[in-house]
């Protein structure tokens, strides 16, 4: 898992991941790139991350992937990420495509729902929590 301050260098990260697994005999490599879209007059998005729980969440996914002979990788931005640049990339490598296609879907969806990351819109220099796009994590409401 890689965390960067500011936007991700997508080509460097994907190229390096490809090199890392060049001799691993995986038949399928499926990358996912999340890019900040220009909408609602935002200048950028901004992210807070709670690293200890993100790390354990990611380790569980590595174990789940390993059970299918696959691996997952991810990189995410901390702080401000301007429109048209990337805040999140992930990838699955697996011996066979079916495993990789299913895993990237499940991994990215669970990432959206349970990775401890908070998103803010940057509008006129103000940081506004993306309340309407955020999802309560599994088990939310325990103390209510």
């Amino acid at each position: 898992m890689e965390l960067y301050h500011g936007p991700l260098d997508v080509k460097e990260i994907f190229g390096r991941w490809l090199d890392e697994e060049a001799d691993s005999n995986y038949g399928a490599y499926i990358p996912f790139v999340g890019t900040i879209r220009a909408e609602d007059d935002i200048e950028a998005l901004s992210f807070d991350i709670y690293e200890p729980i993100l790390q354990s969440w990611f380790e569980e996914w590595q174990e789940r992937a390993a059970r299918e002979g696959a691996i997952v990788k991810m990189a995410h931005a901390i702080g401000d990420v301007p429109v048209h640049s990337s805040s999140y990339i992930s990838a699955v490598f697996s011996p066979r495509r079916r495993v990789a296609l299913e895993l990237i879907d499940a991994f990215v969806e669970d990432f959206k729902a349970n990775a401890p990351i908070w998103k803010y819109d940057i509008i006129d220099g103000e940081r506004v929590y993306a309340d309407d796009r955020s999802t309560p994590m599994n088990g939310a409401g325990l103390l209510a």
């Binding site: 999340g34 992210f47 807070d48 709670y50 200890p52 729980i53 354990s56 995410h76 805040s87 999140y88 990215v108 990432f111 959206k112 729902a113 349970n114 990775a115 401890p116 990351i117 908070w118 998103k119 803010y120 929590y129 993306a130 309340d131 796009r133 955020s134 999802t135 309560p136 994590m137 599994n138 088990g139 939310a140 409401g141 325990l142 103390l143 209510a144």
Partner: protein
Amino acid sequence: MIKVEFLGPIGKESIEVEANTLKELSDFLKRDEALASWLPKCAVALNDTMVSDLKTPLKAGDRITILPPVCGG
């Protein structure tokens, strides 16, 4: 005492509380009006492990983390 941390947009400083269970902690936190509106949508971690049982015992030095709704990517 246990330490309670509030992450992301909650925007509240950490506090130290006397509580023996998560239920006791819940009763205490709900008295804070600003916090009461967050709690129904927040998940909870004890020493960086997610928890789901109100009967979970707490001991001195434990760290509770309150995690509001997330949106990575």
